[in-house]
């Protein structure tokens, strides 16, 4: 989190310096634009954060881990993809779950389909996507992503088992 914040603060400062060199008025114009967009989107973003909070408390990591167990083969790939997609948190929650699954005996294919499901289908994206792009876009994105988590799981099953 600190690195992400530092990177974005540095990016903002660099852009402000470039803007200042071009025309000092551009800095205040840019910051005004940014705050206007933020204020416009603030109500829906706050609601999105609360909805994301609900997903986290309603789908705790222990529950997700229990669903997966130590399934292997094709079934493991399918369940891994689905359960990975249900993880409503960032990498600091998802990665430790993946490691504990792997140590508990889940196959490499299950683990890879799980991590890909989390990266592509993750429910943590949905509140922000629905708020800013709407349900039609979300449905289309999910449809276009649909085959990939099971597909990469099957690739691993075929190549590394």
């Amino acid at each position: 989190m600190f690195i992400a914040t530092a990177l974005l603060v540095v990016a903002a400062v660099l852009l402000a310096l470039v803007a200042y060199r071009r025309d000092s008025k551009l800095v205040s114009a840019g910051l005004k634009d940014g705050s206007r967009i933020l204020l416009n989107q603030a109500p829906v973003l706050i609601i999105a954060f609360i909805l994301a909070g609900y997903l986290e408390v309603l789908l705790p990591p222990e529950l997700v881990r229990n669903w997966l167990g130590s399934e292997a083969g094709f079934k493991g790939v399918m369940i891994g993809s689905l359960v990975g997609g249900l993880i409503p948190s960032g990498p600091y929650v998802a990665y430790p779950i993946i490691v504990s699954m792997y140590k508990a005996g889940a196959s490499l294919a299950t683990v890879i389909s799980f991590v890909t499901g989390w990266m592509l289908w993750s429910t943590s994206r949905l509140p922000f996507e629905l708020a800013l792009f709407g349900p039609r876009f979300s449905a289309l994105r999910m449809a276009l992503y649909l085959v990939f988590p099971p597909l990469v799981g099957l690739m691993v099953l075929f190549l590394w088992s």
């Binding site: 903002a12 967009i37 990498p91 490499l108 890879i112 990266m119 709407g134």
Partner: protein
Amino acid sequence: MDRTTKVFSVITLLVAALAYQMGGWDLVFAGIKRGLDTLITVAVLIVAAYATAGLAGVLISQESIKNYLGREAGWRGLLIGMAAGAITPGGPYVYYPIARAISSAGVGFATVFTFLTSKGIWDLSRLPMELAILGPRITLIRWLVTSFIPPVLAYIAYRLDKQLEPFLPAGGEE
């Protein structure tokens, strides 16, 4: 209150009602607290993201954005979208507002979608954590088998760009 905020409020109320059914008021307040705690934790990140978006908006002309990222840019625009997705740090509360800003600049479906897919699969800011927690073997295999996804989906989105354009929200920043 706009339509999106209204619909979203209703969905959140329904989920809160589900939380009440499952765990009473404790779970209702736990959900709100979890969400607001996250919001407070990432508040600086969000402000920095919007400041960056605002400053980029006044520095880069609409015409340049269309030239480099729009349909006319072809694969060059998609490659820039992929690179931008890979290097954009932060969670969905950062990259969705950025994607929305790109979308509002009129770049077309393919570039917005490619940016989001690349952020999902090629996220470089996640790599140190991935290596540290998952270890080099799982990380390497994960990158080997998933790296083809952003270019393949970029190609599909590029071919269907015009047909899929209506799935983007209408112009404007709200």
